[in-house]
Amino acid sequence: MGMKWYVVRRVAWAVVATYLAVSLTFGLLMVTPNAGADVAAAQAAASGQDYDAVRERYLERRGLDRPVEEQYVDYMTNILTLDWGYSFSQGEPVLAAIGEAWVYSAQYFVPSILISALLGYGIGLYSALNRYTPTDYLGSFVAYFGISIPNFWFAIVLILLFGVVFRLLPTFYDSGVALLSVQNAKQLLLPVVVLSTASVAGQMRYSRAQAIEYARSAFVKTARAKGASEWRVLTRHILRVALVPLSTILIADVLAVLFAGSFIIETIFQIPGLGRLALEAIQQRDTPLVLATTLIPVFIAILGNLLQDLAYVALDPRIDYGDR
């Protein structure tokens, strides 16, 4: 009874959150002067046309002079039917531009998530179990380094070292390289390292703290008293219990760090992914594309949160459904 309700409520909440997020972007659009219209009008004015007239015509052609409710319904319908408009800066429909760009983003994004989770948890748990050893101190050092170093600066220094001084790796991304090739792996190496450093460190710090808390707990002592090996204690007891709190931050935290990082990575390494697309859209004041590139991370984040809530059901038998 409880569980079903819980799942239903969580899914319903995800839908509501999506709806609110989309409405919010619409609201923002409504309260700000239309950037596209300004651009078009300014261009027209430069070629001798009447600024206001062009601006009005621009708005009329896009149906932006209609009442707000009408535009709202339209806007929501378009979002729902995946009619996300036309990007003038890319010269193609918004969805097509995104379709081309996401491949490049995914190439470094997915490995980064995996590395963050595996390496972060791995090192964190290891150092929790081997406290006060040199390895633990090294781990802590790496963690502090990772969360403190500005990733754009880190990227620059790495490029300077490995690209310019030692000439081991390419200094920027070449989209012409085949997806599955050594060359591609080489040019993705630095972006992945830079992007995952911060989130690895974050996961590591958190998982270490959690694991230390559980490593001191009575049930771990019970497990040791049973004669369980360290590995068994770690995997079957500590990790299994720690997964509950860890799963709640994995997605939200990793996504937050990585989204911000992706803009920087794609700028520095010149990767033609979603982050670069968004930046170009902003620079060229291409509103439909800006909205799309804003909404996609939001959708991913909502989905991530939903998965995280559902993970709870699978992981924690104690969950009090009424309370959440």
């Binding site: 406290r131 050893t133 019970t222 008293a225 049973k226 004669g227 090996s229 007891h237």
Partner: protein, 388 residues
């Protein structure tokens, strides 16, 4: 070195702890939680470690199989289990002993079970760790064990999670976990402290029944002298990491030799007129004062008590002390049947030196003749105080 049940030497105790020291390095200095503790335990027998919080009783119990967090806890001394020194044993060797031959039951059943596994899984885990059996067979064993500890509907309970059970049921599950390896030694660390008094009685009875059935030795850690009186064959009184007194249980209750034991017993409601309390606090564990650890709180302390090392354990002469003790406590008239009743309790036929009654007090030392008079004075002065 004897590896398994093959040699059970009658004269050799199952467990012999000699000069055990466990210390923790902290920012404030080295905490000597256990500081030279010695005692023995025979097969089938129950020995209680008694002491207040901070006396080192739990650390002593956990040091035996090195369950204290090893760094920064440092263990030295000798812990012989069937003649094998566990302080020198490898981690692998200890692991094969834990759960299989030396089992533990901990204080708080609320925390001692892993919240995300079913209780059946947690009982079966012991079987799976120590024997190569199928998961199915291990589960079957787990259900049998749950039945053994009187859990109603064991097969269904095996699929329950800990939070679905009451505190008493959880402690039963933990007893089942401890029994799963059919151990020779059960270390029970305050197993009933967190439970209600009616449940406490049930668990104590359960442990006693199972002890007889499996012929286990039990090392029982508790602060509750009522529990001690009920379960112990012999008692080790700890204070500030040191053994204060070691005695068969009825000797301790009838004729406590160490002033600390006397004070502890005097605190018990319903024993004598005095509603005693021990003034003062535990000495600093990082930097204990010289002399007897209890001297600063001892009503009988003389100057010599504050000097030198902690007094060594010395045999308690039976005659005089029984009398002295008799006036403080409220023993049954005449203390003659002592030996008989203790022999009845102990399962071991000839416990030899372990039957001894020793106390770490200057007054019982061999070469403390000169001050014998002072002690009598102090003794009687204290009686006067109690009468007030």
């Amino acid at each position: 070195m004897s590896r398994h049940h093959t040699t059970t030497d009658q004269t050799e105790p199952l467990l012999r702890v000699t000069d055990l020291r466990t210390q923790f390095r902290t920012d404030d200095g080295v905490v000597r939680a256990v500081d030279g503790v010695s005692f023995g335990l025979n097969a089938g027998e129950t020995v209680c470690l008694v002491g207040e919080s901070g006396s080192g009783k739990t650390v002593t119990a956990e040091s035996i199989t090195r369950l204290v967090d090893c760094p920064p806890g440092e263990i030295s001394g000798r812990i012989e289990f069937r003649g094998e020194d566990l302080t020198a044993a490898s981690e692998d060797r200890l692991r094969s002993l834990r759960g299989a031959e030396i089992a533990h039951v901990f204080q708080n059943p609320q925390d001692a079970l892993n919240p995300v596994h079913t209780v059946g899984w947690q009982v079966a885990e012991v079987v799976q760790i120590h024997e190569s059996v199928s998961r199915r067979a291990a589960r079957k064993r787990a259900v049998d064990l749950l039945d053994r500890v009187d859990i109603p509907d064991p097969a269904a309970t095996a699929d329950a999670y800990p939070h679905e059970l009451s505190g008493g049921m959880k402690q039963r599950v933990l007893v089942a976990v401890a029994l799963a390896g059919e151990p020779d030694l059960l270390i029970a660390d305050e197993p009933t402290t967190a439970l209600d008094v009616t449940i406490q009685a049930q668990i104590l009875d359960l442990i006693a029944d199972l002890q007889a059935e499996f012929d286990m030795a039990v090392l029982f850690v508790t602060h509750d002298l009522g529990v001690v009186a009920r379960v112990a064959d012999r008692v080790v009184v700890l204070y500030a990491g040191k053994v204060m007194e070691r005695a068969p249980v009825d000797r301790l209750f009838d004729a406590p030799a160490h002033p600390y034991s006397r004070a502890l017993l005097a605190c018990l409601p319903g024993r004598g007129e005095s509603n005693g309390a021990i003034p003062g606090n535990l000495p600093d564990a990082t930097d204990p004062p010289p002399g007897c650890r209890f001297a600063s709180r001892c009503p009988f302390a003389v100057e010599d008590c504050h000097e030198g090392d902690h007094p060594p354990l010395a045999p308690v002469a039976e005659d005089t002390d029984v009398e002295a003790g008799a006036t403080v406590g409220d023993p049954p008239a005449g203390s003659a049947p002592l030996a008989a009743s203790s022999a009845e309790r102990s399962a071991s036929p000839d416990a030899g030196p372990d039957r001894e009654h020793v106390a770490a007090c200057l007054f019982h030392g061999e070469d403390y003749d000169a001050a014998h008079l002072d002690r009598e004075v102090a003794w009687s002065a204290a009686e006067g105080d109690h009468g007030e």
